[in-house]
C-alpha cells in the first residue's frame, strides 16, 4: 500500500490499520465519534468486534484503551490532536505513560491546516504536551507513505506512542523503500551550509527551500525528524557540528515541540544558532489551510527568511 499522489497523511494510517487488522489479532481500535475523520471507519467495517465506539468521551476512551492494553491488546485510540492530548491529558499521563501501557494514540488535526474549524480545533500544543511525558514516543510522519510505515512500526513497538497525522492532502516525498525506523532521523538532503530539521507535512517546505537556495550556491541539509521523541540527538549534533546553524520547522508552536527539543540538545552539547519556524505562540483561526499557513508564518518565504537570519548569525559567530 503505497501512495504516489498527494494524499491526506491520515489515509496512510487508515490503510495500515486495515492491514494490521488482518495481521495482528491483538490490534483494537477506539474512536470518540470521529471514525471517518481519522480514517478508522475502514477498520471498523472490516473488524467490528475489535472496534470500540466510545462516543464523545475522550478521557474515558484513553483510560479504556489503557485497560485493553493491560488485557493484552494493542489499542489504537483515535481522535483529534487537541482532544487526545489536552482534553485527555491525565489519562494519557497516568493510565498510559506512567503505566507504560502499550497504547498508541493516533490523531488528526495537529497543527493549523484544519480548515474552517478554527483555533480550538487546531492543536499547536500537542507535541509539547506529549513530549513532557516521560516514556512517550512521538512520531510525526511527513506523508501518507511514512504514516503507513509508522503505523505498522507503532504496532510492533512496545509502549506508549503518539502518532500525529495530518488532515489535508499532502505531497508524497518518501518511497516504498525509503527507510523508516522509529527514533532514526532521515537525512533527505546532504548539504552542510545549514540544516533544516522538520517534521510532518512541513518537510515539503524544507525541500522546496533547499531547492531554491541551491540555485544560490547554498547547500541545505534537510532532515526529516519524524520521531520527535526520543530525538535522534546524534543527527542533530552532527548537523550542528557540520552545518553550524539550524532552522527547525514544524506545524506547531515554537514552544515545547521539535524546535525546543533541538535547542535543548544543542545548548547542552554544541551551541549553534537555531531559528525556530512554527506558530509564534498565538492561537490559530479559521480559513483555508494556505491562508492560515501564510498568515501564521509557515510558508517557504518565511522559512527562507529564517535561513537567512540564521546564516547571518553563523557568519557573525565565525568571524568572531
Amino acid at each position: 500500500m503505497i501512495f504516489d499522489k498527494p494524499t491526506p497523511i491520515r489515509d496512510g494510517f487508515g490503510k495500515a490499520l486495515l492491514e494490521l487488522g488482518e495481521k495482528n489479532p491483538q490490534v483494537v481500535v477506539l474512536t470518540a465519534d470521529l471514525s471517518e475523520a481519522i480514517r478508522v471507519h475502514w477498520f471498523a467495517e472490516k473488524f467490528p468486534k475489535r472496534f470500540f465506539q466510545m462516543g464523545i468521551a475522550e478521557s474515558d476512551m484513553v483510560g479504556t484503551a489503557a485497560g485493553l492494553a493491560v488485557g493484552g491488546k494493542i489499542p489504537f485510540v483515535t481522535t483529534f490532536a487537541a482532544f487526545a492530548t489536552s482534553l485527555a491529558n491525565t489519562p494519557v499521563r497516568v493510565s498510559v505513560a506512567y503505566n507504560q501501557a502499550n497504547v498508541k494514540i493516533a490523531t488528526s488535526h495537529g497543527g493549523v491546516c484544519v480548515g474552517g474549524d478554527g483555533a480550538t480545533h487546531q492543536s499547536i500544543e500537542d507535541i509539547a504536551l506529549m513530549r513532557v511525558l516521560p516514556g512517550m514516543t512521538i512520531v510525526v510522519p511527513c506523508d501518507a507513505n511514512e504514516a503507513y510505515k509508522a503505523t505498522l512500526a507503532a504496532a510492533e513497538f512496545r509502549g506508549p506512542l503518539y502518532l500525529r497525522l495530518g488532515r489535508i492532502a499532502t505531497p508524497v516525498f518518501t518511497k516504498r523503500n525509503s527507510p523508516f525506523r522509529i527514533g532514526k532521523a532521515q537525512v533527505l538532503e546532504q548539504g552542510s551550509d545549514l540544516a533544516i530539521i522538520a517534521c510532518g507535512a512541513m518537510v515539503g517546505l524544507a525541500l522546496e527551500a533547499s531547492r531554491q537556495l541551491r540555485s544560490k550556491g547554498i547547500y541545505i541539509r534537510v532532515i526529516n525528524m519524524h520521531t520527535v521523541k526520543p530525538l535522534d540527538q546524534s543527527a542533530v549534533l552532527k548537523a550542528a557540528r557540520e552545518c553550524g546553524a539550524i532552522v527547525t520547522l514544524e506545524e506547531h508552536s515554537v514552544i515545547g515541540g521539535l524546535g525546543s527539543a533541538v535547542t535543548e540538545v544543542v545548548s547542552e552539547k554544541y551551541p549553534v544558532p537555531v531559528e525556530r519556524v512554527g506558530i509564534q505562540d498565538v492561537f490559530g483561526e479559521s480559513g483555508e489551510p494556505d491562508e492560515i499557513l501564510s498568515k501564521y508564518g509557515l510558508t517557504t518565504k518565511d522559512l527562507l527568511r529564517a535561513c537567512k537570519r540564521v546564516l547571518e548569525r553563523k557568519d557573525v559567530k565565525n568571524r568572531a
Binding site: 468521551a57 480548515g115 474549524d117 478554527g118 480550538t120 480545533h121 479559521s286 491562508e291
Partner: protein, 306 residues
C-alpha cells in the same frame, strides 16, 4: 392555552425568523464551502425563540447587568447563532459572508476574543461551554442580577464527562437562574446517539441529578416557549433547581434530504443541493437574505481572501 403564549410572543414572527435563520445557514455554509448545517438547521426555532422573544438583551445596552446571557456550548452549530445575532441587530447582515474565512470575527466555532460582547465564551471542544454558563450564573447571583443564563448543548455533547460535572455543579449551587437546553436530535457524527453511546432515558438522569426537566418539541415555538416559561419561575427562594429543557429536534430540519441524516452534521451541500434546500425552506416574510459580497469586497474589507 396557545392564546396565552400568543399574548407574550409573536409566534408567527418567530417562525418566520426561524425560516430566515435556515436560509442564512445554508447560504453561509455553501458560501464558504464547509460548516455544520444539520444541527444548525435543527436549532432554528430555538435561536428564533431565544433572540426573537425570550432573551432580554438589547443590542444598544449590551452592558446592562440585568440582561440575559446565552452560551452556545455545542459551538459547531454557530452558523445559526451568527444568523440570529445578525437578524436581531447585533451584527451587520453582510458580515455573515465572512463566516469561517480568514480574518473573520465569525470563526468556525464561536470565539470570544473575536466578538467579546456577543460570545460569552469560546466553544468548539464539546462540553466546555456549560461550565462557563454556570460560572456566569454564579457571578450574576453574586451581583444580584435579574438576568437569566441560557445554555445550549447537543445530545452527543452530553457524553462528555464535564457536562455531568456541570450538571452536579448547577444543582449543588442552586443555579435557579440557569436554563440548559439540550438539542436532542438523536444524532451525532458517527450515527445515532443510542448506537454511538446511549443517553436515554435523559429526563430521568436530569431528575436524579436534582434538576427540573421538561421536554418540548424543538420545532414547535409554542411548545418550546411553554417549556421555557413553565420553568422560569426563577429566583424564588422556594425554587432553587436549575432547569433543563430537552428540545426534541430533527437534524437538518426544513431540508427534507438532510433530515435525520448524520452525514449532514458536518457536510457542505453542493450549490445545486443548496438551491434545493433554499427552495424547501422557502422565503421568510419579514426578513431579507443577507446581501452577498463580491470576493473583491471581502478581500478589501478583511485583507485576507485571495
Amino acid at each position: 392555552m396557545d392564546s396565552t403564549v400568543e399574548r407574550k410572543i409573536d409566534i408567527d414572527g418567530i417562525k418566520d425568523l426561524a425560516t430566515q435563520i435556515r436560509r442564512d445557514v445554508i447560504r453561509m455554509i455553501v458560501g464558504v464551502g464547509s460548516g455544520h448545517p444539520g444541527g444548525a438547521l435543527g436549532a432554528a426555532e430555538l435561536f428564533a425563540l431565544l433572540y426573537g422573544g425570550v432573551l432580554h438583551i438589547d443590542p444598544k445596552n449590551l452592558m446592562d447587568p440585568h440582561r440575559d446571557r446565552f452560551v452556545l456550548s455545542n459551538g459547531h452549530i454557530c452558523a445559526a447563532f451568527y444568523s440570529a445575532l445578525s437578524l436581531a441587530g447585533f451584527l451587520p447582515r453582510e458580515e455573515l459572508n465572512t463566516f469561517r474565512r480568514i480574518n473573520s470575527r465569525l470563526q468556525g466555532h464561536p470565539a470570544r476574543v473575536k466578538l467579546p460582547d456577543l460570545v460569552e465564551t469560546s466553544s468548539g471542544p464539546l462540553g466546555q461551554g456549560f461550565s462557563v454558563a454556570n460560572g456566569i450564573a454564579m457571578a450574576m447571583k453574586l451581583d444580584g442580577s435579574r438576568g437569566r443564563v441560557y445554555c445550549l448543548v447537543g445530545d452527543g455533547e452530553m457524553q462528555e464527562g464535564q457536562v455531568w460535572e456541570a450538571i452536579m455543579t448547577a444543582a449543588h449551587h442552586k443555579l435557579a437562574n440557569l436554563t440548559l437546553i439540550v438539542s436532542y436530535n438523536g444524532l451525532q457524527i458517527d450515527g445515532e446517539v443510542r448506537t454511538v453511546k446511549n443517553l436515554m432515558p435523559l429526563r430521568e438522569k436530569f431528575e436524579s441529578f436534582g434538576w427540573e426537566c421538561v421536554e418540548a418539541d424543538g420545532h414547535d415555538v409554542v411548545s418550546l416557549y411553554r417549556a421555557f416559561t413553565e420553568l422560569s419561575v426563577m429566583n424564588k427562594t422556594d425554587q432553587d433547581k436549575p432547569k433543563a429543557v430537552i428540545a426534541h429536534t430533527v437534524m437538518g430540519k426544513g431540508v427534507p434530504f438532510m433530515e435525520n441524516k448524520a452525514v449532514w452534521h458536518g457536510s457542505c451541500p453542493t450549490p445545486a443541493q443548496a438551491e434545493e434546500a433554499l427552495l424547501s425552506i422557502g422565503k421568510s416574510k419579514g426578513f431579507e437574505d443577507y446581501p452577498p459580497l463580491s470576493k473583491q469586497t471581502l478581500s478589501r474589507k478583511k485583507g485576507g481572501l485571495k
